[in-house]
């Protein structure tokens, strides 16, 4: 690599925020052209990690404040008003909202907690959201996910913390496929893996 090309490629970097899988947009689009599979990143969603006693009045108040109850059944997603709440553990949820909502949602949850022991942590940049959709979405994920993703077992409204190939993910079933919430540092690996796994399904 010459000094000029180094300077050139550095100059290309955008000032401003950048999502973990931004570099994959073109390859995702190319892989999605056939229609049988759709890969994309949804960048910059708000993610709040909420930990609270599920039986506490605070948990109930938080649900009311969000307009979406904190699910108590394992692996369930509750949705409403542009928010979804993912069950991550017996006392742990991920509140997913639109870009830029972290501050307001954090305040809403803290206010609802009203001094009770509740942990609310902004983890929006901790993970990014990859979309694996289309009729072959299940086939692609089956190459690296040991869970049964049949709609009877893992239909829309279900989520799980699991492994996709060799990285931990939060997997969410949505109407036309899946959202794969992957840690930012693993996003490139996950993107490369998905592109590779989708080779036979690009139709």
């Amino acid at each position: 690599m010459t000094a000029e090309s180094v300077a050139g490629s550095v100059a290309e970097f955008a000032i401003g925020r950048r999502s973990p899988a931004a570099a994959y947009a073109a390859r995702f689009a190319a892989a999605s052209a056939g229609g049988a599979i759709r890969l994309a990143e949804i960048p910059f969603l708000t993610h709040l990690n909420v930990r609270a006693d599920p039986a506490s009045p605070a948990a109930e108040r938080i649900g009311a404040a969000l307009g979406v109850p904190l699910p108590v059944e394992p692996g369930v997603v509750t949705e409403g008003g542009g928010l979804s709440v993912l069950w991550l553990g017996p006392d742990e949820w991920l509140v997913v909202g639109p870009d830029g909502a972290a501050r307001e949602l954090t305040e809403r949850i803290r206010d609802a907690a009203a001094g009770e022991h509740v942990s609310v942590v902004d983890v929006s940049a901790q993970r990014t959201t990859l979309v694996v959709a289309g009729e072959r979405a299940r086939d692609v994920l089956a190459h690296g996910c040991a869970l049964d993703l049949h709609p009877r077992e893992f239909g829309p409204g279900r989520c799980a913390q699991t492994l996709l190939a060799r990285t931990g993910v939060v997997l969410v079933a949505v109407e036309d496929g899946f959202h794969v919430l992957v840690r930012s540092s693993f996003a490139a690996y996950a993107a490369e893996w998905l592109l590779d796994a989708s080779v036979e399904y690009r139709g």
Binding site: M1, A3, V6, S9, V10, F13, A14, I15, G16, R17, R18, S19, P20, A23, F44, N49, R51, D91, H117, S119, V121, D122, V123, S124, A125, Q126, R127, D139, A142, H143, G144, C145, A146, L147, D148, H150, E153, A165, R166, T167, R183, S184, S185, F186, A188, Y189, E192, W193, D196, A197, V199, E200
Partner: protein
């Protein structure tokens, strides 16, 4: 047809050209390599591994013990059985002497793996398997039917029975077509189930493009590993025919009777011209009749049984043979296969022993009975029981939600196999709560009953030197007798002594035969002797298939921080830290590593440098008891930390040894952010959760990983304050306003940031944390001034080592206490308890000769000690006072034993010190300061002087800039 002398009359098809052992040959579409070779009259396919004896095709499936070949083109693949290699145009293969050769180039094919789940997994698409799958699938269950062959039908393919009024093969195809059309049913052809594990976890390998040769689509995975989780498993795995041990039973031309029947019926191939049949049971008669009808002369049938029984008589096997001019000799055995290099005749004798005669033949068919394929059932923990009628072990009890069906369960007739399969399907449905569906069993109109077989393992002789038991391993009865003669009474021991059953085929044809011969030799019942253990894989699997896509860049995840692309573009070299790629150093044109690191170190000590510190682990610890919790985990006090301040801390295991270090930042009364080392981020979070969940559930604390929420730029050096001031005009950066070990929220380069004043180099330094979305933007803003030198982990290591700061995992190894590191000050004397505390009351943790972290200065300031080098004292006998320096430099170690006093943990060239230096763990090290030690390096003894581990700025004068 003169061109295809061994092809059955009227058989046609697409012609495929192939080469075997250098001969150009032709076969037909649908052939296996074995059937094509037989069709060309090729009798000798391989040679045996130990004795070099010629060997021919013995079987027609994966149980083949002899015909082991190497595929040469299109891509080398060793140790395949010719009976399972589908013929394709352009195939080039050679016969193997029991050993193959790995390819000398990377395999260009793709291999992958898939996880799948089902209600019912049926293994084997023979009559029982198809019946079972049909019942389950039609009731709406999620069904997977896996079969190793390219075409469904199993045993029906090689026979002539009819099912529902159609030839068995046509019935099987039609059933499979119907099942394939069901939405939740998957039929996997060319798929061998190789392992059956607990909880019905089943692994299978599908061969997807192997049969296409060079025509295989390049993007399509050649082989696929299926990892199947099944609620119920039906093992309809059929049976393997076994042979009998007699003289010369390995000659090319000796073949299992059922295999010969398959070659005639399925492939239209005549495996010979004139055959002798040697059997212990009825099934070989059907083979004899089919071969006769195909035009092969059957010279004689030698039936071990003196009186084969009423079922034999009822079906009039003798009359059916007589109609075709076949002589049936009951109460006879084949004592020897005759011929040089291949069979030219068979020696037949009555069991009374008198009246031996030799019959000319080029084909000698053997049936020693059939063994249910119980491999998977047994692998999964099922017990086997001996079935007297079959003379074989059949599935017994199992703890799995699995059952055997059809012949695999010991059911012998086609009619009963179909019924048993259907019943197994129905039982699976019932167990899964699908209700009790009606079951229609396919109809078999006419079929012989089986007369009892007589179980004969070997034909007695005075010389057992060519009575082969395991053809692939060249094990004969003579060797089994040598084993039993040596006192071995267990088949497991005999297996290991003789190697019988250890070849690629894992004794599919020979396992029970070996047991039978051992039983015969010991005069015991084979039922009590048992068989050897069945282990996965059922058939050999290529490593390429097992590796799948986990190769190259996908072998292990590479973790990168938000600024990674910048580092790549700037030509950084990277260091692997766990799965992270961290910039190691940034060489300028013409610089080697040493020069780059010296330059980067000097920049930080004299000006300002920046490092990507994003990989450090970060955990939010929240709750009213957060301070108490951290007090218990760290050796020092964290609850007294003021909001806005930062404290360094060390965590130990209960044994008092250092586990991790980092900082705690107090964000609020009930909220800390703690950092961990890069490699221990997950381990520390697990550690915290373990204590909270198992020991201290009363503490109101919750932990959340935020490692990747934040990107961190470390800004270090005397000029770091002015760089920060320029980037954050709203931040008061003066020493009084922003003292050491405090943090401030501020806008840095227009980005919301948390700035911490901490230092890992001893210099004035800051760590700027922003949302990782802005990590690249921040980094670029820091670099935009042109004043800041990017530095990597190597420079960071040198700078911290100059200050004597240990790196957990480099200068510690799980046997090092904080006190060993010279950090007594970090171990609280005030706290009632913390993890590790009571270990400091043990005599061992206060031994004066514990290894202490010390500095080392090689006497030659240009010599760089290798990390890991051992340290010894003066190489002369007796104690040496530190001042008693020998005048001449020793060149050899003292006579052994030489006690190693310790070892080098870190070693660098220092720009600031103008020389090399090292850190080391040395026994009683702090008492040895000033002492000369030696590091044996190669043949040399390098003299070094022990110093304090803090070599640079011991007063800490540089911290405030």
């Amino acid at each position: 047809m003169s061109g295809r002398p061994y092809r059955r009359e009227g058989v046609t098809g697409r012609v495929l050209r192939f080469r075997f052992d250098g001969r150009d040959l032709e076969g037909l579409a649908g052939d296996t390599l074995a059937s094509a070779l037989l069709a060309n009259g090729v009798r000798t396919v391989a040679s045996s591994v130990r004795l070099g004896r010629p060997r021919g095709v013995y079987a027609a499936g994966c149980e083949e013990p002899n015909a082991v070949v190497q595929i040469e083109e299109p891509f080398p693949e060793p140790m395949l059985t010719a009976t399972t290699v589908e013929l394709y145009d352009g195939l080039v293969a050679t016969g193997l002497p029991g050993r193959g050769r790995l390819a000398d180039r990377p395999d260009p094919a793709r291999y992958d793996a898939v996880h799948t789940h089902c209600d019912v997994l049926v293994v084997g698409a023979g009559p029982a398997g198809i019946a079972a799958a049909g019942v389950a699938a039609r009731a709406g269950a999620r069904v997977i039917l896996a079969d190793e062959r390219p075409e469904p039908g199993g045993g029906l393919l090689g026979t002539t029975e009819t099912v529902d009024g159609r030839p068995g093969r046509a019935w099987a195809s039609a059933e499979i077509a119907a099942l394939t059309a069901l939405p939740d049913t998957r039929v996997l052809r060319r798929t061998t189930v190789i392992g059956h594990y607990d909880d019905n976890y089943v692994v299978a390998v599908e061969r997807r493009t192997n049969h296409l040769g060079a025509a295989a689509p390049p993007g399509m995975a050649r082989e696929r590993v299926w990892r199947i989780r099944a609620k119920r498993v039906v093992l309809a795995t059929g049976g393997h025919e076994r042979f009998v041990a007699f003289a010369g039973n390995d000659l090319p031309g000796v073949m299992l009777a059922g295999a010969a029947r398959t070659y005639v019926n399925q492939y239209g191939v005549l495996p010979g011209r004139r055959a002798v049949v040697f059997t212990t049971n009825d099934t070989a008669y059907a083979a004899a009749l089919d071969l006769a009808d195909a035009g092969i002369e059957i010279a004689a049938v030698a039936d071990v049984r003196r009186e084969p029984g009423s079922a034999w008589a009822d079906w009039a096997w003798a009359d059916r043979c007589a109609e075709r001019g076949i002589e049936v000799l009951t109460g006879h055995v084949v004592t020897a296969a005759k011929g040089e290099g291949e069979v030219t005749g068979a020696e037949i004798a009555p069991r009374s022993g008198r009246g031996t005669r030799e019959v000319a033949a080029d084909l000698l068919l053997v049936s020693g009975g059939w063994t249910p394929v119980a491999h998977l059932f047994s692998q999964a923990g099922g017990t086997l029981r001996y079935d007297e009628g079959l003379g074989a072990f059949v599935p017994g009890e199992t703890r799995q939600a699995a059952e055997a069906a059809g012949f695999a369960a010991g059911v012998t007739t086609l009619r009963d196999c179909l019924a048993d399969g259907a019943e197994a399907g129905r039982r699976a449905l019932t167990a899964l709560g699908f209700g009790a569906p009606g079951v229609t069993v396919p109809v078999v109109e006419e079929e012989p009953a089986n007369a009892p077989a007589e179980h004969l393992w070997l034909v007695e002789s005075g010389d057992y030197g060519t009575h082969f038991v395991d053809l692939q391993r060249d094990v004969t009865v003579a060797e089994v007798l040598r084993a039993t003669g040596a006192g071995l009474t267990s088949v497991e021991h005999v297996k290991r002594y003789t190697t019988a059953g250890t070849a690629h085929d894992q004794g599919k044809t020979s396992g029970l035969l070996t047991s039978g011969v051992v039983a015969h030799a010991l005069g015991v019942d084979v039922a009590g002797l048992g068989t050897t253990t069945f282990r996965a894989p059922y058939t050999p699997v290529s490593f390429a298939a097992l590796a799948g896509r986990d190769r190259g860049p996908l072998h292990d995840p590479v973790r990168v921080a938000a600024m990674h692309e910048w580092h790549v573009a700037r030509g950084a070299l990277f260091e692997n830290v766990g799965q992270w790629k961290r910039p190691w150093y940034y060489p300028r044109p013409g610089e080697d590593m040493g020069a780059a690191v010296l330059r980067e170190c000097a920049a930080v000590r004299e000006g300002v440098g920046a490092m990507d510190a994003s990989t450090l682990g970060k955990i939010d610890v929240v709750g009213p008891d957060a301070g108490v919790f951290l007090d218990r985990l760290y050796t020092n006090m964290m609850s007294t930390l003021k909001v806005g301040s930062i404290r360094y801390g060390v965590m130990c295991r209960p044994d008092g040894m250092v586990f991790d270090d980092g900082t705690a930042i107090r964000l609020a009364d009930d909220r800390y952010l703690v950092t961990t080392t890069t490699g221990n981020a997950a381990a520390v979070l697990d550690w915290m959760e373990e204590w909270l969940q198992t020991e201290w559930p009363d503490l109101r604390v919750r932990c959340t990983s935020v490692t990747e929420q934040w990107a961190t730029v470390a800004l270090a050096g005397p000029r770091s304050r002015e760089v920060l001031a320029a980037l954050a005009p709203g931040l008061a950066v003066g020493n009084a306003d922003f003292p050491f070990m405090t943090w401030r929220d501020a806008e840095v380069a227009g980005i919301e940031a948390r700035v911490c004043r901490i230092s890992f180099s001893g210099e004035l330094a800051y760590e700027i944390n922003v949302s990782s979305w802005y990590g690249l933007a921040l980094w670029e803003a820091v670099m935009a001034s042109g004043e800041v030198t990017p530095y990597g982990t190597e420079t960071m290591h040198v700078l911290r080592a100059e200050k004597g700061y240990p790196i957990v995992g480099q200068d510690t190894d799980g046997t090092v206490t904080p006190q060993d590191l010279g950090m007594e000050w970090i171990v609280s004397k005030k706290k009632a308890d913390f993890v590790g505390r009571r270990s400091y009351a043990r005599a061992d943790t206060s031994r004066p000769d514990r290894r202490h972290l010390v500095g080392l200065l090689p006497e030659d300031p240009g010599v760089l000690l290798p990390e890991g080098a051992h340290l010894v004292s003066a190489p002369v006998a007796g104690p040496v006072a530190p001042t008693a320096r020998p005048t001449a430099r020793p060149t050899a170690l003292a006579a052994p034993p030489v006690r190693a006093l310790g070892f080098v943990t870190s070693s660098y060239r220092s720009a600031a010190l103008g020389r090399t230096f090292a850190l080391a763990l040395v026994s009683g090290g702090r008492g040895r300061v000033g002492e000369r030690l030696y590091a044996p390096v190669g043949d040399d003894l390098v003299p070094v002087t022990v110093t304090s581990h803090v070599l640079y700025d011991p007063e800490g004068a540089r911290r405030d800039g």
